[in-house]
Amino acid sequence: MEKKKYDELVEKHKPHETRVQNAFIAFVTGGLVGVLGQFLVDFYSWWLHISSKDASTFMIITLIFFASLFTALGFFDKWVTFARCGLIIPITGFAHSMTSAGIEYRKEGPIYGIGSNIFKLAGSVILYGVVSAWFFGLLRLIIMGG
């Protein structure tokens, strides 16, 4: 088949409303994770009598733990396929990428399998986070002196 004809055919069958639908699903799921985070902060500060700043650390730990556990149990992948950025952009996506890489490469052994691969995707987040935080921090030191 000619390339042009093929492109036309693809264009015809490409569903157009899915982009709007995807965006809507991402907005709602992402928002719900935000609400869950706020609920956990309020819950921990009420239950353990700690400041909301400490409670937010507990909240991050809780979200990471459950994202990791659900990935290990196998059904978080389906949630991510459904919600996409709604679960990838919250901290759950960070935990999901690490745990799924760890489980996928476990057959290659503890060193070259799990050890080398858990940061396959999360590593870039840490790399660019650290480099940019260092650079912007330096910028601020130079401009504002601290």
Binding site: A26, G30, Q38, I89, I103
Partner: protein, 118 residues
């Protein structure tokens, strides 16, 4: 009280919405977008803009990955206030270490005990 929940929903949702629009309409992958968002978060904290967002929105601003960049810059700047340019490297993980440690530890044990499901 209820306002914080509404703001959390709207802010976290909006960040995910922007990410999803970028994902669907460009050739960038999820890995590109999360990396870009971390850099954006680190940048917004440079002049304390992200702190204002967190104070206003609540935990909804701490959940997206932009918050990770904000915590890195925040830790670096906190130590830099005492030790100058060397301090940038000393405190960077002060606030985000718990998240990274938990993710590493549980990933390790789950990877040991669970098999991939196909």
């Amino acid at each position: 009280m209820i306002q914080t929940y509404i703001y959390s929903f709207l802010f976290a949702g909006a960040v995910c919405l922007i990410a999803q629009i970028i994902l669907d309409n460009t050739k960038l992958t999820a890995g590109h977008i999360t990396s870009i968002f971390v850099v954006v978060g680190a940048f917004l904290d440079t002049f304390n803009i992200y702190d204002m967002i967190v104070n206003f929105v609540g935990a909804g601003a701490l959940v997206p990955i932009t918050s990770f960049g904000h915590l890195l810059t925040h830790g670096a700047m906190a130590k830099a206030a005492d030790y100058g340019i060397v301090g940038l490297t000393m405190g960077m993980f002060d606030f985000s270490s718990s998240g990274i440690v938990v993710a590493i530890v549980f990933t390790f044990f789950f990877a040991l005990f669970f098999r991939p499901k196909d």
